[in-house]
Amino acid sequence: MTWPLFLAAVLAIPLLGFGAAFHPSVRSELAPARIAAALALGVVALTLTGLALTWASVRWSLATLAAPPLAVSLLLGHFWARCPAPPRRPGHASRRIALAATAIAALALVLLFWTLVTAGATSVDYLFFWGVKAARFAAVRGVDTELLRWKYFGHAVPDYPPSVPILQAWGALAAGRLPWRFVPVCSLLWIVAAAPLARALLRRRIGDDAATAVACFWVAATSITIAQSYSGGNAEAQLLFFETLAVAALLVEDAAAGASRFLPALMLAGAVLTKVEGAAAAIAIVAGTVLRDALERRRGTLRRALPIVFAPAAALLAWFAFQRHIGLAVGYSSHGPLLGVSARFLPSILGEGLRNLDAGTLWLSWVVPIAFLLAARPDPRRLLPALALVAGLCGFLVFDYMHDTRDPSQRIGWTTPRVSQSALSACILAAGLAWFGREPRGQQISAAAATPPAP
């Protein structure tokens, strides 16, 4: 029985990053939301530790992998616990809404669990390279650099970021070997972990019931699309966790300068360590945020962009430096020359792309948020961090498919349902804020203070 040990190791990852739960930007939230922040730091720290240990020729063990993240967490947690944190806004949640949302979200998660546990949503790539790398990393107790360089391992995309294999190897080390049948079930945990923090972030801008309802819709839509796109065991759910929370944190932040960007910076670092698309998404999210701040004339736009630029850039550089250290080609390989694009298959790309955005719900997962978004007629500037991800990811996909020298319909069918999930997630968050949202709390306060008392 290896799976209970694997599960225990996965559930222990938030312990490695417990320091993040004490950061002032999340410390006053409820425990499940704080655990999500701790999970994010745990994942990032574990990934970087895995690389550093291999670089330093130190064999992996549970102790060597856990010690540095725990030490960092202890230091950061101790420091952050002394910093003042804004109090949590008292809740005004309707019991009926909360119960209904919990029941619907639980139904969606049970359906996803059932699909994953019955091997109905396992990614083939998990057996071709994600899990393969994890099993080999655990076997050699480090990043298997010889394997990554082997000419007959090119199919396993050795340049892909290392977070997912390192996390799965962490579990395999605890379990003694990789429990191949069980690992895909853990994809569910990313949705379970993200939902409370997404809700906590949303309620900074919208009412409790609205935040609950939007988070519930998000859980339903993402659970279904994870299953429908066969994302069990691959990197998609983890990427969805990081990108969703990065977008949510940036969407709801106070317009007044000074609010911490620790959380989105951490999430963006996690995204770029998870998948190549994470880097493209980070660029889009950061661009959207900077543009929003500039258009809204927020103070310190460039200075405040530093954390969300530096954190993912540092994570990416760490991976690229490791690539260079072990003798891999540095960077990511593209599908042909960067500008070698052709519009020959554009009709096919657009047609197949749209067809494959049905998200397992005959497009309803997209139609609902888009309808709310259009009906709300929001100021689009406020939603730019999310809208930039939607547009950037869709544009990135089309650009990528335009490199194909043959009709990419088959590749679109394999990839679009998986890769578009983050765009769907961002669309839901944007729609929720547009439909229920008001001006940021800081602006409200400023406006109220500026309003002269009635005579």
């Binding site: 080999r136 394997l147 199919h155 279904i224 309803l364 229920f436 409200q444």
Partner: protein, 151 residues
């Protein structure tokens, strides 16, 4: 109640909850479209319900496992180049202490690599006769062979 906590007039969270429930109806409908015995079938491989061909190949690798020594150096032969490639890719993870050598890589023959292996896992076809092998075991969908020492 703080005015900021109230939802805008006419914008009830119930609409979102109804939409969320509507989404859940799609996988429920997909599930109930299959017979119960199919629903209750306990999968053996990670791909039983997503890719029948790869599931069979994974089963073949698992069936070979008891007939291989620790840390084996092996190759896989299969008539279908796609099957050979899939089996090679999966075997690297399925046998993490081993060294799988390709006899075919992305459809390109690499017999000079594969012939260095001590064991041959033959999937749905016998290995070439001149490879000088002895049968170790027949397994479901194929057989395991060992290389004979050179005379």
């Amino acid at each position: 109640m703080n005015p900021a906590d109230a939802d805008p007039p006419g914008r009830s969270p119930r609409l979102w909850l109804i939409a969320a429930f509507a989404l859940c109806c799609f996988p429920i409908a997909a599930r109930t479209a299959h017979p119960l015995d199919e629903q209750l079938f306990v999968p053996i491989t990670p791909l039983d319900r997503t890719d029948g061909a790869r599931a069979e190949q994974w089963s073949f690798l698992e069936a070979c496992r008891p007939h291989l020594p620790p840390q084996p150096v092996f190759t896989i032969v299969a008539e279908d180049p796609d099957a050979a490639m899939s089996l090679f890719m999966m075997s690297i993870g399925a046998f993490p202490d081993s060294l799988p050598l390709p006899t075919m890589y992305y459809g390109m023959p690499a017999p000079e690599i594969g012939r260095q292996a001590d064991f041959v896992l033959a999937y749905r076809q016998p290995p070439l006769p001149h490879w000088n092998l002895r049968l170790v075991a027949r397994v479901r969908h194929g057989a395991v062979y060992a290389r004979l020492p050179a005379p």
